[in-house]
């Protein structure tokens, strides 16, 4: 069993981060574009932007997390990769766990990097920026876990991004509350709670996602 983890992880990383399943930079560009749109909508007032900028970065991160959902699980289901793994005796839960890790690696740290120019655009810096980055570090694993879970649930369905987004947004509300809440109040406790919810989601995703893939495979 341990022998398959490294090859699967490398394959997933090559697919997700290497650009064979759509350009991984596109969600990040979308993230920056949303951060750029906001000042156009509310005006270039620097104190207002500095006060609301952290929340805007969180909302943009949630929206950007919806974009890659349709290529996380569906192509493998269509090509029969999951059937092959099942024949080899590799549990769907293991594949989904590795997929969550690979998705986070190709989405979380790049998003944290993209948050730097976004925060410069919104005029937030110093202490607030540190809290945004720490919050993203705590929250993006949970976001990646929900993403893979929703992708597994909708893999066999042609519902499109609208359906996946509708499923993802309510589940991501607690991450947003604590991640963005850490900006307003004390800080550390919000980030810790955001990390705790993230861990719960990471714990649920392999089992729920694995069961969803099995249900989709067996029809």
């Amino acid at each position: 069993m341990t022998g398959v983890i490294a090859p699967l992880l490398l394959r997933d990383l090559a697919l997700l981060a290497g650009g064979r399943r759509g350009n991984p930079l596109l969600p990040l560009l979308f993230f920056l574009a949303v951060a750029m749109l906001f000042p156009f909508a509310v005006g270039p007032d620097a104190p207002l932007l500095a006060r609301t900028g952290g929340g805007v970065i969180w909302v943009a991160a949630l929206l950007a997390a919806i974009l890659p959902l349709d290529r996380l699980v569906a192509p493998d289901l269509e090509q029969g990769c999951f059937d092959q793994w099942a024949l080899r005796g590799i549990a769907e839960e293991l594949v989904i766990t590795i997929r969550v890790l690979a998705h986070w690696l190709s989405f979380g740290p790049p998003l944290m990097l993209a948050a730097l120019p976004a925060s410069a655009l919104l005029g937030i810096g110093g202490d607030t920026l540190a809290r945004v980055e720490l919050g993203l570090l705590a929250g993006t694993p949970g976001l990646a876990a929900i993403g893979v879970l929703i992708a597994a649930l909708t893999a066999g369905l042609r519902g499109g991004a609208a359906l996946a987004g509708l499923l993802l947004i309510p589940l991501a509300v607690p991450l947003l509350i604590f991640g963005a809440g850490a900006l307003a109040t004390g800080g550390a406790s919000g980030i810790a709670l955001c990390g705790a919810i993230s861990l719960v989601l990471v714990a649920i995703a392999p089992f729920a996602g694995g069961a969803a893939v099995r249900a989709a495979r067996e029809g």
Binding site: L153, P170, F178
Partner: protein
């Protein structure tokens, strides 16, 4: 429970129960609301606006209880492969969403005179709003699953994931911001005067019967749909 795994036996019972449940539920809930509207005294602080309580509180409880029913039915479908559990879960979703929407609507109407605004970003209101979105997501996923002919277990998994997340969402939203009064009724004690409490409990019973009747009617509809489709397919194969 597996006695009702046979759709024929279930349908015989459901056919018997649907009408009475709807009628009794409607008249009991209607009676309790009429009492609340005309006979109950005005409350000392809230005045006449308190009368909306007799529809607001039962719909709130049933809106939240609806997802509990979805969770139990989803578990029964996933663990015991009960053939009617998935149909029951799908049948609960629409009345659950409607009751949640009625709760939000009546709360908003009550909030206008009491808080001076249609909507506040209060924790318990927001938690109900997120619940409504979860119901709508569930219904959308259900119709996509049905359209594509995918396994109904996918829907059951989402039902369970939602059930795990609802308490997290609820408490995180409460922590975020709350203006709503704390629960007045918990098991064992009540901060409510008996002339409000009893009609409220009767209204809750009436709305619950009504909810059950709607769920049975919807289950019969889903089963009839499946039956009609199977018959059409058989006729097409014979032709």
């Amino acid at each position: 429970m597996h006695g009702f795994a046979n759709p024929t036996r279930f349908l015989r019972l459901a056919r018997l129960l649907t009408g009475p449940l709807l009628l009794v539920g409607l008249s009991v809930a209607g009676g309790a609301m009429a009492y609340g509207l005309f006979a109950a005294p005005a409350e000392r602080l809230q005045g006449e606006t308190v009368r909306i309580l007799f529809i607001h509180v039962p719909t709130a409880w049933l809106g939240m209880g609806g997802w509990t029913a979805i969770a139990v039915a989803s578990l029964a479908e996933l663990v015991w492969r009960h053939p009617l559990a998935g149909i029951a879960a799908r049948a609960v979703a629409v009345p659950g969403a409607v009751f949640t929407a009625i709760c939000l609507l009546t709360g908003s109407i009550w909030g206008r005179p009491a808080w001076g605004t249609w909507w506040v970003w209060d924790g318990r209101l927001t938690s109900m709003l997120v619940l409504l979105f979860l119901y709508l997501a569930y219904i959308a996923l259900g119709s996509a699953v049905e359209r594509e002919g995918a396994s109904s277990r996918i829907l059951a998994i989402f039902g369970l994931v939602g059930a795990v997340n609802i308490p997290i969402i609820h408490y995180s939203v409460l922590w975020w911001n709350s203006l709503h009064q704390a629960p007045s009724i918990t098991i064992g004690k009540s901060a409510m005067a008996p002339e409000f409490l009893w009609p409220l409990l009767i209204a809750l019973a009436g709305f619950s019967l009504l909810f059950g009747g709607v769920v049975l009617a919807r289950m019969r509809m889903i089963l009839a749909d499946a039956q009609a489709e199977a018959r059409l397919r058989r006729m097409a194969e014979e032709a």
